[in-house]
């Protein structure tokens, strides 16, 4: 079992699979060695580590955006006119 992933899942409300699919587990594990819980959540949710974004992937995979069900601005495009439709309910 991976203690960092397990702790992250518990703190963020995202499953271990969801966290792994971001491709950021190794990078974040290295950064967050002596981090507080609040810092670990901030890192996963916003991609910000102590005031900086460690990689553009960290921004693109921010869990706050995933919680809402939209892509972070400037990362993935939902397609022309997609904004017309009623948003789909988030899965929770």
């Amino acid at each position: 079992m991976d203690a960092f992933v397990e702790l992250s899942a518990e703190l963020t409300g995202f499953s271990a699979e969801e966290l792994r699919s971001t491709g950021l587990v190794e990078q974040y594990r290295a950064l967050a060695q002596d981090a507080s819980h609040a810092e670990i959540i901030e890192l996963w949710y916003t991609g910000v580590w102590r005031g900086v974004i460690p990689s553009s992937r960290a921004y693109a995979e921010g869990l706050a955006w995933k919680a809402v069900g939209v892509a972070p601005p400037g990362t993935r495009a939902p397609g022309f006119g997609s904004w017309e439709h009623r948003p789909r309910r988030s899965s929770l």
Partner: protein
């Protein structure tokens, strides 16, 4: 005919194109460097604070607005960008025209009148809309503006956001203070579906939701598009900072001096001169004024640098009762136009309300700020995830642009402090009159009422420790910079009290022009660039026709 254009931004790129198309030999001197598009997108993604200038390459030799010095009672809060393409690379791309009344602001409100009318500019609005590529529906615009009969915008209006439909379903037909409300589509400089006979440049808007500061899809217009269409007679030299325009004893401009640099990180440079038959300053409102002041030109009226105005923007933000899907697609596709005029204009500044589709991103820094708030409140795991989803998916904002009248006391002067090239930094004395403050307060009250009608939960708050906070009639208020600086080389009908004439030609110098929002005697309540672009095309037409035949017919594909 040798023309030198100073600045390859929005206005300069347009003028250079028309002149080049008509056989002028054109040299465009641009202070900034080029930014690679992919690098800029990458820099945007990796920036903690995604402010408008962030993605772009900056140089020590040609600093952008961050080198301004504020000396007035209020901070001038609008950025501008010195890079090839100018602020026109970072802009949002919202392009409503001014109202006919906005050309007579002294008569019906505060400030100055224009020497020309809406009708004089109307054909050039059409030409600019076709050159830039605007998506809008003429019939819809006619609900509040006289758009020429039979005219079509080059692209159909973009689809409205889901949020727009929710707002319209409640407010359309209702009224506030005797103004009937209607949600109206906003013309957009981003690609929609073309009408017959128009070939869009770039891809269809795909909804990246980062138009300002950068559209990854290149669906938004930037001056680089116009530059690609320049004829072979237009030459661009980047990294050339013009620091003086020279005139002879009769007032005729003879040449410009500029400083050329290679390296991004120092002020090391070489000095050069370029002779010209005509010089067109298109360096942005504040830099145009700075350059005229540094050159000691065009100022017999003592108006150079004065009348600095912008749109102080009021932001208000709330939660809809249901999810509305913010952060999908463009920042704003509609607005409420009802408060742009009316008799109140005699007493307080008018305003235009944008319906903001990017949640509380601009106003409060969402969703990072929401996450921080919930984490601080002790939420963890599923409860946190649910709280963020619930909060952010219901967010929306109203972004209100309030007119600011031309006031000679708001001005650009030369600071004693120097930049890395040894040129004076611009010093800004900026304030808000009671007319503007009353407009901001009235706008706040209208937002309050709109939120009530929408049954939206108001989260707006302005705190004393925040930037640009103030109180007016005991009410807390705050303003944001819209990026719409103008007025600094104001146009008028007399050389005694204005800097340029109706052709944007300096009264004091027959072959010196200053173009851009700096020429505008009033900004009205619309984002100014389409008006500025129309003026630029009118000036280009004048330059060409004062030498050869007119180009309007040739230039405008608009029916």
């Amino acid at each position: 005919m040798r023309a030198v254009v100073v600045g390859a931004g929005f206005a300069g790129s347009l003028i250079a194109k028309v002149l080049g198309d008509n056989g002028f030999s054109v040299l465009v001197l641009e202070a900034g460097a080029d930014t690679d598009h992919d690098e800029a997108v990458e820099r945007f993604r990796a920036s903690r604070v995604k402010s408008p200038l962030r993605p772009y390459r900056t140089t020590v030799a040609a600093p952008s607005s961050d080198y301004l010095i504020n000396t007035g009672p209020f901070d001038y809060a609008s950025p501008y960008l010195r890079m090839n393409g100018g602020t026109g690379a970072a802009w949002t791309g919202i392009t409503p025209r001014m109202h006919p009344d906005d050309f007579r602001t002294a008569d019906i409100g505060r400030g100055r009148n224009w020497p020309i009318s809406y009708d004089d500019l109307e054909p050039y609005y059409r030409a600019a809309e076709w050159e830039i590529g605007i998506a809008a529906d003429a019939d819809e615009q006619r609900q509040h503006l006289p758009v020429a009969e039979g005219y079509r915008y080059p692209m159909h209006a973009l689809p409205r956001t889901y949020l727009d439909r929710v707002v319209a379903s409640v407010v359309d037909g209702a009224s506030i203070d005797g103004h009937e409300l209607l949600v109206v589509g906003t013309p957009q400089a981003r690609n929609g579906k073309p009408v017959d006979g128009y070939r869009p440049d770039g891809n269809l808007c795909a909804g990246y939701a980062s138009c300002v500061p950068i559209c990854p899809e290149q669906a938004k217009y930037t001056p680089h598009r116009t530059q690609k269409r320049w004829s072979g007679t237009v030459e661009l030299r980047t990294r050339c900072v013009v620091n003086r325009v020279h005139a002879d004893e009769f007032g005729r401009v003879t040449k410009v001096s500029y400083q050329r640099y290679e390296d991004d990180t120092t002020g090391r440079h070489t000095r050069h001169e370029e002779e010209a038959d005509v010089v067109i300053l298109a360096a942005h409102a504040i830099e145009n004024a700075k350059l005229l002041l540094m050159s000691g030109l065009a100022n017999s009226s003592d108006q150079v640098g004065r009348n600095l105005m912008d749109h102080p923007a009021l932001l208000t933000w709330a939660l809809m009762p249901q999810p509305v899907g913010p952060f999908r697609g463009p920042g704003s596709t509609t607005g409420i136009e009802a408060f742009r005029g009316g008799p109140e204009r005699g007493r307080r500044a008018p305003f235009r309300i944008e319906i903001g589709n990017w949640g509380w991103g601009w106003s409060a820094g969402s969703p990072d700020s929401d996450t921080a708030e919930f984490v601080a409140a002790g939420l963890r795991g599923t409860a946190l995830r649910r709280a963020v989803a619930e909060r952010v998916s219901r967010q929306f904002a109203l972004q209100v642009e309030v007119e600011q009248e031309a006031d000679p006391a708001n001005r650009v002067t030369l600071a004693a402090e120097r930049d890395a090239l040894g040129n004076p930094r611009p010093s800004l004395h900026y304030g808000l009159s009671d007319y503007v403050k009353d407009g901001l307060l009235a706008a706040k009250r209208v937002c309050d009422q709109l939120f009530e009608m929408l049954k939206a939960e108001d989260y707006t708050s302005y705190k004393p420790d925040e930037e640009r906070y103030f109180e007016h009639n005991g009410e807390p208020l705050r303003y944001w910079g819209a990026g719409h600086g103008g007025g600094t080389h104001v146009m008028g009908s007399s050389r005694r009290d204005s800097v340029v004439d109706q052709w944007q030609r300096c009264w004091d110098h027959p072959n010196l022009y200053a173009v851009g929002c700096g020429s505008m005697p009033s900004l009205g309540t619309s984002n100014p660039s389409i008006t500025m672009a129309a003026l630029a095309l009118r000036t280009a037409d004048h330059l060409v026709s004062s030498r050869v035949e007119g180009v309007l017919g040739k230039m405008s594909k608009a029916p």
